[in-house]
């Protein structure tokens, strides 16, 4: 409608431009369709492959998904509360399914910490401690990798590669390796998560440093400050709010990561969750899921609140 209105009024040059534009448009559309076709092909191939190599086939298993949801329903609602707070169950038959009071951590003769709360604390500690270690090392490394703080090319390249490899190295392998050396316990998880955090936070920190304002640094250089002084007084004050914001963001991620590492043998709540799902202890599973959900939401909210206070709404833009 709109094009027919204008088509008559074109001069010779105008018609040429119009034709070129149409051609360009047609080519763009062709590329778009080609892109979609490739994507659709890749998707259908992937789906077929995934279904072929899965233990159960998708359409065979689909009805049973809901059976499993039904299996998760506990005997009565109070069971979840009892499992969560380690209270004795009336159904206790000596099996692992109902032995909630076992695993209590007694502080005094009558005051105890329920097992799941204790394990949740362990997971939170793994996350926080390894974020602190990773943040501290990433803090040092990012100044060695940024173009405006380090003039030595070799050093810069080296720190960048180190961070890339630490970031890409699978955490499972780190956890497994340290599990073999240090034997069971939460420390392998701490090491694995810390090493990954060094790389991940180092990269984010390094981008903040590269975008920093150089005026303060120039002033310090003019009065003859050495490298440490220039970094400490010229860069740190202006990048610190962003650093803290990224630190908190990473803390949120690490709470999840330490849960997962826990499930593959690193201790903490993740391991208990894997065991209870595997052994069909529905009340225990639900109790752990509830606890995890509450903790993750609480950590996220706390970190969002703190970040908003520190750097304002800017903290919520996507980290590119």
């Amino acid at each position: 409608m709109a094009t027919s209105l204008f088509q008559h009024g074109f001069s010779e040059k105008g018609a040429l431009i119009e034709r070129h534009w149409q051609e360009l448009n047609a080519r763009r559309r062709l590329y778009s369709w080609l892109g979609f076709a490739v994507l659709a092909l890749a998707l259908s191939g992937s789906l077929w492959f995934a279904n072929e190599t899965n233990a159960g086939k998708f359409f065979d298993r689909l009805p049973h998904v809901f059976d499993f949801v039904g299996d998760l329903a506990p005997r009565d609602g109070m069971e979840v509360i009892r499992a969560l707070f380690d209270l004795a169950s009336p159904y206790d038959d000596g099996s692992f399914k109902y032995n909630y009071p076992e695993g209590r951590l007694y502080l005094t003769d009558s005051l105890y910490v329920p097992e799941y709360f204790h394990k949740m604390l362990e997971t939170l500690n793994i996350a926080l401690f390894s974020t602190i270690i990773g943040g501290a090392l990433g803090f040092v490394l990012c100044f060695l990798a940024a173009r405006n703080t380090m003039s030595n090319r070799l050093m810069r390249g080296f720190s960048c590669r180190v961070m890339e490899i630490l970031r890409a190295f699978p955490e499972v392998v780190l956890a497994g390796f340290f599990l073999a050396i240090l034997s069971l316990g939460p420390l392998p998880a701490v090491i694995a998560v810390s090493i990954h955090t060094v790389g991940a936070l180092g990269k984010l920190f390094f981008e903040v440093v590269e975008n920093a304002d150089m005026k303060a640094e120039e002033g310090l250089r003019a009065v003859g400050a050495n490298w440490t002084e220039r970094v400490w007084f010229g860069f740190v004050p202006q990048v610190l709010p962003n650093f803290v914001s990224y630190f908190l963001l990473r803390l949120e991620i690490n709470v999840r990561a330490s849960t997962i590492i826990g499930a593959v043998g690193g201790g903490g709540i993740g391991e208990l969750l894997r065991l209870s799902i595997g052994q069909r202890h529905e009340a225990k599973t639900l109790a752990i899921v509830l606890l995890l959900l509450a903790t993750i939401i609480a950590v996220d909210q706390f970190s969002a609140w703190l970040r908003r206070r520190l750097v304002g709404d800017q903290a919520f833009r996507l980290a590119q």
Partner: protein, 502 residues
């Protein structure tokens, strides 16, 4: 120089109380924070019992495990029987095969008359025993080539070829000579001479060099040449572990007809050699041998790696497709309905907060172990995360375009298509790409709980503590894939956002 009168200074101090005398917690903020962190670190030191765990850790084995990543061991062992007959053997899983004769091991052999006590069952076979059972063993295999000379009922005399002297060279690092009653080890200009006595045990002649250790006189001696080799000496034999750099049998395992041949010979066999297996060409045989290599399991590893890639790809793509319409419902400025905003936002929060681990465990139970569980876990988590990010992006759009399209009387769908979509589509695609890349990494780890992909294979290889070279191989593949996807997604994203690639 300006001098401020005390009265004026007081005046300034009164007006800006926070400047001159800032509150305690403001002035000492950094110190307090540092002290807090320090206290927390001390608490964690206690909570995780770090000192104790590090102290009792087996650091010696860490070096061996790390060396296993890039090297392999060959373990010839010389067994010494009480009558002085020696025998050289390799473990069944040896990288050189069980019947290897490497050029760094020299043996001298001689014939020897041996006396063996005979078990009753062999000398007088039970008549009820079916003949088929005994035919598993080739006749004469138990007694060597020579005819048994039976003397009485309890012993057999045979003449056998036995090893009388074995010399094992560990590169330039050392030489180990083994005789039935004597062992000599040379390393770094020092010599360890040992006499083996059936009653008194292992006896050192002279001083024990620094590279050898013995717990008590008569007990077994262990020696170590560093990376290149180590071994132990006991009265019943000497075991040597020589370490070689590299991955053993990476292409062909010891059962393959191509095993142990140099690359040029394999190439000429494949290209123009006579058929080894008459049923098929050498090329297909070689390819088959590589794929089904018993030690490296190339085909299985590649399949699992592809599963991991597929999990990340399909999971993220589906999450994007699901989050796209939902985010329009969740954005306050697009759908002016409080209930639908809240419902979809809480749905996103729920999906995001139930951890990927929980979804992975849940769907592993539902679909059985495999990539379907991984795809579902990534899909559920990322629908929440992407939906949240998308709806935030939608709430921050510039309203002018929408108003412009609306003012010329466009239908509601056209307003979204021409007024909203062009602004957010690059951001949407960029965010999806970012998650695709990061999911390639997380797909590895949820695989370890059974949700398909290479994670489980990695975990199994690590649990035996003896397949670290396979772990290194898989880690290398994962790193390559992650780096490729990292670069790819970075370039696509910077093209979408119109930034120069970094």
């Amino acid at each position: 120089m300006t001098v401020i009168a005390p009265a004026r200074m007081q005046d300034i101090a009164d007006r800006h109380a926070g400047l001159i005398k800032s509150p305690f917690r403001h002035r000492f903020r950094v110190v307090l924070l540092a002290a807090g962190v320090l206290l927390y670190v001390v608490y964690c030191w206690w909570f995780f019992a770090i000192g104790q765990v590090l102290g009792s850790a087996n650091w010696g084995i860490a070096g061996t495990y790390l060396a296993d990543w890039v090297s392999y061991e060959v373990r010839p062992s010389v067994r010494i029987a009480p009558d002085g007959a020696m025998e050289l053997s390799y473990p069944r899983s040896s990288p050189l095969g069980p019947d290897a004769s490497p050029d760094w091991v020299d043996v001298e052999r001689a014939m020897m008359m041996r006396v063996k006590p005979v078990a009753q069952a062999v000398a007088v076979p039970a008549p009820a025993q079916p003949s088929a059972a005994s035919s598993f063993m080739a006749p004469g295999a138990a007694t060597g080539g020579a005819e048994p000379v039976v003397s009485g009922q309890t012993e057999v005399r045979t003449e056998e070829e036995v090893v009388t002297h074995a010399r094992i060279r560990i590169g330039s690092a050392g030489v180990i000579d083994v005789w039935p009653e004597r062992v000599m080890v040379e390393h770094g200009g020092e010599r360890l001479a040992v006499r083996l006595d059936q009653e008194k045990g292992v006896l050192v002649e002279g001083a024990l060099p620094g590279w050898a250790a013995q717990k008590a006189p008569g007990e077994k001696i262990t020696f170590s040449f560093g990376f290149s080799g180590r071994g132990d000496i006991d009265t019943d034999g000497v075991t040597v572990r020589r370490r070689f750099f590299g991955w053993a049998n990476f292409l062909f395992d010891i059962n393959s007809p191509f095993h142990g041949r140099p690359m040029g010979e394999v190439a000429s066999l494949v290209l123009s050699g006579e058929r080894i297996d008459p049923a098929r060409s050498n090329l297909s045989l070689a390819w088959d041998n590589i794929l089904y290599n018993a030690e490296w399991q190339h085909l299985d590893v590649w399949t699992k790696l592809l599963q991991t890639i597929v999990m990340a790809f399909v999971g993220t793509l589906f999450a994007m497709l699901a989050a796209f319409p939902l985010s329009f419902l969740a954005a306050r400025n697009i759908t002016r309905n409080w209930l639908s905003n809240q419902l979809s936002k809480r749905l996103f929060d729920f999906l995001r907060s139930v951890d990927m681990l929980i979804w992975a465990l849940f769907f592993t139970r539902a679909f059985g172990p495999g990539p379907l569980a991984g795809i579902s876990a990534i899909f559920f988590t990322d629908t929440g995360t992407l939906g949240k990010l998308y709806s935030e992006a939608l709430e921050n759009i510039d309203d002018k375009q929408r108003e412009g399209v609306k003012s010329v009387g466009a239908a509601p769908a056209a307003v979204q298509r021409y007024g909203v979509l062009p602004q957010v589509l690059p951001v949407f695609a960029s965010q999806a790409l970012y998650f695709w890349e990061s999911n390639t990494r997380s797909a590895t780890i949820i695989g370890a709980v059974g949700a398909g992909g290479i994670g489980l294979k990695l975990w199994e290889a690590m649990r035996t503590n003896s397949d670290w070279e396979n772990v290194a191989y898989m880690v290398l593949l994962i790193l390559v894939v992650v780096f490729i996807f990292d670069g790819l997604s970075n370039r696509l994203r910077s093209r979408l956002m119109g930034r120069p690639a970094r």
